[in-house]
Amino acid sequence: MALPLEHVRWVAHLARLDLTPAELEAMARDLGAIIEYVNQLQALHTDGVEPLAHALDLQNVFRADELAPSLTVDAALANAPARRGDFYAVPAVLD
């Protein structure tokens, strides 16, 4: 079953994705089918099962608090679509 278009629009907003009307329609259909498929998980009894986010039994790993070389400003900004001085340039957020 297709997901309601309103819901697809809301998820697209959360994902910061601009979708065309045709894409929204296709997405409603595709997501509906995939969600129907993954709903098979709901039949499984999982009370008391600890979620597994990660296959390794790792705790937080911290590096030593030591100075190390890092990228220069120019290297870090080399791929920026727009730059002003030593900063990434974006359209004004506040007037």
Binding site: V11, I34, I35, V38, E50, N79, P81, P91
Partner: protein, 487 residues
């Protein structure tokens, strides 16, 4: 020259061949044949030849040489190479030039390998056919009307067709093993944490692993040896010594119990694939192994779990493509938010959008418990199944894929059908296990079939030895496709 394995190329150099002539030979083959395959996205002849000259100079001076000295490697375009275009198969990164090398690239350079170029892939490694690339479709060298598999389809096709003796791929749900099976070569996914992910463009961070594609198990072991090991820049990189996998490879694993999951031989498995895999299992038996039927009772849920966990992680990882820091920025927009949404809408392809949407949905308020958390709980059950199985057997064996290579376009209209081509490979990613695909036969139409073997975490050494036991007794890995230059 281009038919030789990595081991043979190393030996040839001891006999007097130069890295330069080897590299030139592979570059020539690429320029002749890749027009039929589109395995590579970028090839930098001068960069490759300069590396080869440097290796030859080191050899001439009597300097210590790395374990892959003068051996060309085709690298999936998901690994950052400083100063070289790295697109991840996405238009959003069309012009991205990384300021640093991935750890694996650093290790390949230290091993004196020759970086030939970057190979095609499904955009952001999301796909099983390389048809989701933002740039071009790669073809299977055994049948140009079929897919090489994916997402590391470019690297797999390159190795199979003799465009490179070795390839680097990444495997989030089968993206090394599945294309290896479909292209008739060896593909190895190491244990999660065995190879550093630093500089690997992220898809599903709890699942992604880098690994080798090669003509045979020895070459795969050698390449793994070169790239494995701890790296402080990846907090999930595990600090354990790296055994010399390529040595002792011919040691027989005895006694050997091979677990056969009954769930891997049910509906949807092609009869020719099943037959080839059963013959392979009988080969182990004839070498004294015990075949033991086991059960992975939750394996039928693996695809569902994967498409929630991987997409949830992807939706978060891909938030960085915002049109601000790097990558494509839309030209027209109303405000900052609109700029971000339009840049992403223009830059991402259909499958990436679908997965970012699914992941966002699974993590959204009101749905996170029913989808993301539920999937993590079932992921635990799937891992528990493997833990139980490995108390009864040394390795788990079965088909790598349910069918041989499918036709281009066959599954592009049905995302679910495409997802199901990874049904046997996804479990190893969810549980973090090492897995390998080795060639084990051909269909009557001449398409390769892969045998998948999996082992407990960090048992790469044993897994490679078990794979080698089969390879040594068979000839499938020596078959090469005949690829014509484009006509």
């Amino acid at each position: 020259m281009n038919e030789l394995t990595a081991a043979e190329l190393l030996a040839a150099q001891v006999q007097g061949a130069s890295a330069l002539e080897i590299t030139a030979a592979f570059l020539r083959t690429i320029h002749e044949r890749d027009g039929s395959l589109n395995a590579f996205l970028h090839v930098d002849d001068e960069f490759a030849l300069a590396q080869a000259r440097a290796v030859d100079a080191k050899r001439k001076h009597g300097d210590l040489l790395g374990i892959l000295a003068g051996v060309p490697v085709a690298v999936k375009d998901i690994l950052c190479v400083a100063g070289q275009k790295t697109t991840c198969g996405s238009k959003i990164l069309r012009d991205f030039i990384p300021p640093y090398d991935a750890h694996v690239i650093t290790r390949l350079k230290q091993a004196d390998a020759i970086l030939l170029g970057k190979t095609n892939m499904d955009e952001f490694a999301m796909g099983s056919s390389t048809e989701n690339s933002g740039f071009t479709i790669t073809r299977n060298p055994w049948d140009l009307e079929r897919t090489p598999g994916g997402s590391s389809g470019g690297s797999a096709a390159a190795v199979a067709a003799g465009l490179a003796p070795l390839g680097i791929g990444t495997d989030t749900g089968g993206s090394i093993r599945q294309p290896a099976a479909l292209c008739g070569i060896v593909g190895f996914k190491p244990t999660y944490g065995r190879v550093s992910r630093f500089g690997v463009i992220a898809f599903g961070s709890s699942l992604d692993q880098v690994g080798p594609l090669a003509h045979n198990v020895y070459d795969a072991a050698l390449l793994l040896e070169a790239i494995a090991g701890h790296d402080a820049r990846d907090s999930t990189s595990v600090d354990r010594p790296v055994p010399a996998y390529s040595r002792g490879l011919d040691q027989l694993v005895k006694p050997l119990t091979v677990g056969i999951p009954r769930e891997f031989f049910s509906d949807g498995l092609d009869a020719e694939v099943e037959n080839a895999v059963r013959v392979a299992l009988a080969e182990y038996q004839s070498q004294g192994a015990v075949l033991k039927e086991i059960s992975l009772p939750h394996s039928s849920f693996a695809v569902a779990v994967y498409y929630l966990v991987a997409t949830a992680e992807a939706s978060s990882n891909l938030a960085r493509y915002d049109g601000v820091h790097f990558g494509h920025r839309a030209e027209k927009f109303a405000d900052l938010l609109d700029m971000v949404a339009r840049s992403r809408g223009e830059g991402f392809g259909a499958e990436v959008k679908r997965r970012v949407m699914l992941g966002t949905y699974a993590l959204s308020s009101g749905y996170v418990d029913a989808y993301y958390l539920k999937a993590l709980k079932v992921r635990r059950l799937i891992k528990d199944d493997f833990d139980t199985a490995f108390r009864q057997c040394d390795v788990i064996a079965g088909p790598t894929t349910p069918t041989a290579a499918f036709k281009l376009g066959e599954k592009t209209g049905d995302p679910l059908a495409m997802y199901l081509s990874d049904i046997y490979t996804i479990g190893a990613n969810l549980a973090g296990l090492p897995g390998i695909s080795v060639p084990c036969g051909f269909t009557k139409n001449g398409l390769p079939i892969g045998l998948q073997l999996m082992a407990a975490p960090f048992e790469e050494g044993k897994l490679l030895q078990v794979a080698r036991m089969f390879e040594r007794a068979t000839d499938w890995h020596n078959r090469r496709p005949k690829v014509q230059a484009p006509g």
